[in-house]
């Protein structure tokens, strides 16, 4: 086991996949000579050259479409979109080309492209650099959406995304690139579907993904210590498809659910998980599920307002305590 940072894990996955297959390329803004805004491709330009580690112009829809077109003939492009806010500009190619081409060609053509992009609130980046877009991507048939909460997942999910024959969107987070964690020394592939119970518990299930898994972990410690509540935490690393079985299994056991997401609540992961709970295990519930999510506002610049807009561990603790009627 090596202890490495999230960005190092992503970089290692790139490196191994590029070494494995000469048709694996990566492309994006500043990823080559500059090594990537978050260092995810550091050193690869020197190792693999400009034809495979490609600095693109600032033309998101254009270069994303090029990666998709190249994938039609066997190239495996890993596209980095510097901020998920810029991915809006590439939506046409992601939704209309990559996600739909298998279906509308009757299975003749597939787009095995990987699109990685960080979203979320970092440090006072304002409304146009702080959005969360996973809720948008997960609503599109034909596109897989995964979101790693640890260096190990970041490594293994990227490896599998490159090899998978479907287009995969990997939702990262700007605040997580320097997070450390154990990654196995031997090569491994993380399954693209499913969920992971990261903490066993009996009283309530906290559903999180990406950064919110960490708020859940912090909250679970406080709940155990201060309130005698034993929380189970389910990491929803696959947002599309969501793990219906895993969600129902945990709720059937704990009978209570809180869904924690950084995104604003409307039309989000929380609403989707609640719908699944209703459909799969409604009668196992002892109380109505609750969402912990951001205020429904464009992200403010002012730091105090920014912090007030997004959830944190204390909001999770409060929601659990209220839901269980304990204090």
């Amino acid at each position: 086991m090596a202890n490495m940072m999230y960005w190092e894990a992503i970089r290692r996955a790139h490196d191994e996949e590029m070494a494995n297959d000469p048709l694996v390329i990566c492309m994006g803004e500043d990823i080559g000579v500059a090594g990537g805004t978050y260092k995810a491709t550091q050193g690869l330009y020197d190792k693999y050259g400009a034809e495979r580690v490609i600095d693109t112009p600032i033309s998101e829809n254009g270069y994303t479409g090029i990666g998709i077109g190249a994938s039609f003939v066997g190239v495996r492009a890993i596209i980095e979109i510097m901020s998920v806010n810029f991915a809006w500009l590439a939506m046409d190619q992601i939704f209309n080309s990559a996600a739909k081409v298998r279906y509308m060609s009757g299975g003749q053509l597939t787009s095995p492209v990987v699109i990685r992009s960080p979203g979320g609130t970092a440090h006072q980046l304002g409304a146009q650099h702080s959005a969360r877009m996973e809720k948008v991507f997960m609503g599109i048939a034909g596109l897989r959406v995964v979101t790693p909460s640890s260096p190990k997942q970041a490594y293994g999910l990227l490896k599998s995304a490159v090899r998978c024959n479907d287009p995969v969107f990997i939702n990262e987070h700007e605040l997580m690139y320097n997070m450390k964690g154990e990654v196995p020394d031997t090569e491994f592939f993380h399954p693209l579907e499913g969920s992971e119970v990261v903490r066993q518990g009996k009283d309530i299930t906290l559903f999180g993904y990406n950064i919110s898994v960490h708020w859940c972990l912090q909250a679970a410690d406080i709940l155990a210590k201060n309130h005698g509540i034993d929380a189970e935490i389910v990491d929803l690393f696959s947002l599309s498809p969501l793990d219906r079985v895993g969600i129902a299994e945990s709720v059937s056991k704990t009978h209570h659910a809180v869904i924690v997401e950084e995104a604003e609540a409307p039309v989000g992961v929380g609403s989707e998980v609640m719908a699944i709970i209703n459909e799969e295990c409604f009668f196992d519930l002892d109380a109505a599920p609750v969402r912990v999510s951001s205020a429904n506002v464009p992200q403010p610049y002012n730091h105090k307002l920014e912090l007030a807009a997004i959830p944190n561990k204390d909001n999770v603790v409060d929601a659990v305590v209220k839901l269980l009627g304990k204090s």
């Binding site: 077109g69 190619q93 080309s97 060609s105 597939t110 293994g156 399954p191």
Partner: protein, 335 residues
């Protein structure tokens, strides 16, 4: 181009014309649904350019007016018609429809319904060709109105910068849906817009297949030799509306009559007759044969083919049994 080639091209263009006209009838009969964009008037564009390339081998992509391009690449007209009829035997198994004809085995990478969408995809096909080391090229057929999308400029810039083997063919039919080009576009001559990207470009008559062929030969040679992209503007006209839901009210009858005098089939036919290579009687015979073939072969196949099964509604959304999806299958350490 010898007389035999010209006669073959005349036959192909006439086939394309009759195929599209039969689509019109089938649409009126409600055998074909959705949106239907027909090609009559523009036949010399697809046929002239692809004749100068290697159809079936070069990678071709286009917009929603795609039936004829697919057939010229090698798609079976029966499968194209069956697709329009929404049948399981259709080229996209009835899941695509008129705007989404695909025939990947003949390197026809599809019809796309978002105007300008194929520009970057074509550049991507070219990037793939370049990486794999073949001498194929990518050919992107789109209309003039697509050039007002951002993808046009983004793709031209990147194609030129990376010297990608892609030929952009602009079939300038003077209208973007119902808006005439001078009302939508500051620079109406499209080849001029490309000079900002240092891409060689020509504008030629798109109604005379011999002129199209000659211009395309030059363009294809340039692209295939590794010198980067090329842009070819073909001046043409569509006889029907943008789609079947278009009444064509925005064009004058005089304008339509003028263009019908420059019909691509008429031009080639008259030239062959004048040269003593062909007769009016031969043409009538050929026309009848084509119409019969479309009826007895193509339409019959489409009519008699089965529809897709409702139980297979969700087939083709994602790859089936992809090994990297399930925990049981992935190699290495499990959670």
């Amino acid at each position: 181009m010898n007389a035999a080639d010209k006669k073959r091209l005349l036959k192909e263009m006439l086939y394309a014309r009759r195929f599209e006209e039969r689509c019109y009838e089938a649409y009126v009969d409600r055998k074909i649904g959705g949106f239907l964009h027909l090609y009559p008037g523009q036949e010399a564009c697809a046929h002239g350019v692809l004749e100068a390339a290697r159809p079936g081998e070069d990678h071709v992509i286009t917009g929603y007016r795609d039936h004829v391009h697919a057939i010229k690449c090698g798609a079976d007209p029966k499968e194209v018609m069956a697709e329009l009829f929404g049948k399981e035997t259709g080229s996209s198994k009835g899941r695509g429809g008129s705007m989404h004809i695909f025939d990947v085995k003949h390197h026809f990478y599809g019809g796309y319904a978002l105007v300008g969408g194929p520009f970057p995809l074509a550049a991507g096909l070219a990037k793939g060709i370049k990486m794999k080391g073949g001498d194929q090229i990518a050919i992107c057929f789109l209309g003039d109105a697509a050039n007002n999308q951002g993808t046009f400029h983004e793709s031209l810039n990147i194609s030129a910068l990376w010297k990608l083997p892609v030929l952009y063919v602009c079939e300038n039919n003077l209208y973007g849906i119902g808006t005439r080009i001078d009302r939508s576009t500051a620079v109406t001559e499209q080849y001029k817009r490309v000079c900002g990207y240092d891409i060689p470009a020509d504008q030629v008559d798109g109604q005379d297949i011999e002129i199209v062929y000659k211009a395309a030969q030059k363009a294809v040679k340039h692209v295939r030799s590794g010198k980067g992209p090329y842009f070819l503007e073909l001046m043409t006209y569509r006889y029907r509306g943008h789609s079947m839901s278009d009444s064509n009210a925005y064009r004058s009858k005089d304008e339509e009559a003028d263009w019908s005098k420059r019909d691509p089939i008429l031009i080639l036919k008259n030239r062959l007759i004048k040269a003593g290579e062909y007769t009016e009687a031969e043409h009538k015979k050929l026309d009848k044969k084509i119409i019969d073939e479309i009826e007895n072969d193509v339409i019959k196949f489409a009519e008699e083919s089965p529809e897709p099964k409702v139980e297979e509604l969700e087939k083709y959304v994602l790859a089936e049994n992809d090994p990297y999806v399930c925990a049981e299958n992935v190699r290495g350490e499990q959670q």
